[in-house]
């Protein structure tokens, strides 16, 4: 695994992604998702909303890192909040 030049932050990042995917699988097994319409303009399943949340989180991080002086932790916090809002009401 040395050639992959792991660092602690990236390892944590991928571990969290893997945990989210496992968690979503478990959740799906316990109670299967129902496609529904929230504040988003399209009907989405739980997985769709997770994907939208993660993708918008990536873009939010890029904007914060590239074009503002804000800390990256601000982007992370905002992304988590946004993801929760999206999962519940999106």
């Amino acid at each position: 695994m040395d050639w992959m030049v792991w660092t602690l932050p990236t390892a944590v990042f991928f571990a969290v992604i893997a945990a989210i995917l496992l968690g979503m699988t478990a959740w799906e097994l316990v109670s299967p998702t129902v496609e529904r319409r929230g504040f988003l303009p399209i009907a989405t399943t739980r997985g769709d909303r997770l994907f939208i949340g993660l993708l918008s989180a990536a873009y939010l991080h890029l904007v914060v890192v590239g074009f503002t002086e804000l800390s990256i932790w601000f982007a992370l916090g905002a992304s988590i909040l946004w993801l929760l809002v999206l999962m519940r009401w999106g």
Partner: protein
């Protein structure tokens, strides 16, 4: 209605998942690791955090390349999709003519990218190329190594020549799969040719067009060999697209950290655009069917 879900079929994709893990996911994870470090060799590396992303996002040459890339991709889509549909509609439907036309149309698709670049490089040369000499004889000082708009027009023409057949082939197969009953009903209704196209052929083509547009967008967004051989990104940097900037950075200058950060941004853009395309087209289709069923 109580639907029984049996998800065990998912186990069948495990071999594919393993393959993709080794060919895509693990390399991509490595790219993420590289993007937050300055790696010199296996033992000498420094954590840089978000620095590379900051540098890459504010690099004006890359921003210009990104704009050029979008301009290029949307231009060729705007030309190739209608043209491909048109060609598919005109192609003979049966008999030996159908086979002959299919083969003729497919020929450009069989040529490797860098060979396409070389063909067009020779074709457009002002001293020996058929097209280059021809246009000059008509009185226009055509020169792709000096004039940026000539270079642009040629690259777009080359891409249209190389890839419109793909759209045409997809549409042709889509058109062949429409049952005759639809056309018979249209004839009974005395539908005009345009109405047949708008309400029968085009809706039935949606699925193949989704695939066609997605493939062409991704291909053209990652275009490398053809413009590299034809113009080398010039004149100046007027036809330097994203993948060429990336290659120069990663291979030419060995700046692995910045180019890793840059490829992740590149990847995110492709991911977003493809997702938007896919969702938009799939949803418009869903609305159509729900209206049709009501």
């Amino acid at each position: 209605m109580n639907k029984v879900y049996n998800n065990r079929a998912w186990f069948l994709i495990l071999p594919m998942l393993l393959l993709v893990a080794f060919s895509a996911i693990i390399p991509l994870m490595t790219v993420v690791n590289y993007s937050v470090q300055d790696v010199f060799d296996a033992n000498t590396r420094f954590f840089t955090g978000t620095e590379w992303f900051e540098v890459m996002l504010n690099d004006s040459a890359l921003q210009a390349a990104l704009l050029r890339q979008f301009a290029f991709s949307f231009t060729i889509l705007a030309i190739e999709v209608p043209l491909g549909i048109g060609i598919a509609l005109l192609m003979p439907k049966r008999g030996w003519q159908a086979s002959a036309v299919l083969i003729l149309i497919t020929l450009p698709l069989l040529i490797p990218w860098n060979v396409v670049g070389s063909i067009w490089q020779l074709f457009t040369r002002g001293d020996i190329g058929l097209m280059g000499v021809g246009i000059r004889e008509l009185g226009y000082p055509y020169n792709i190594t000096r004039n940026a708009s000539d270079a642009w027009a040629t690259i777009i023409l080359m891409d249209v020549w190389h890839w419109t057949p793909l759209i045409a082939l997809l549409c042709y197969s889509g058109l062949r799969s429409i049952p005759d009953a639809y056309y018979q009903a249209a004839r009974i209704d005395r539908a005009s040719k345009w109405a047949v196209f708008r309400y029968i052929q085009l809706p039935k083509l949606t699925n193949v067009l989704v695939i066609g547009v997605l493939l062409r967008f991704m291909h053209s967004f990652m275009i490398y060999a053809e413009p590299f051989v034809l113009t080398g990104g010039g004149p100046g940097s007027s036809t330097t697209f994203l993948s060429q900037s990336l290659t120069t950075m990663a291979i030419g200058q060995q700046d692995l950290g910045p180019s890793a950060a840059f490829s992740l941004i590149y990847f995110l853009i492709i991911l977003l655009v493809c997702w938007v395309f896919y969702t938009a087209i799939m949803n418009s289709q869903k609305d159509d069917t729900s209206q049709g069923g009501a």
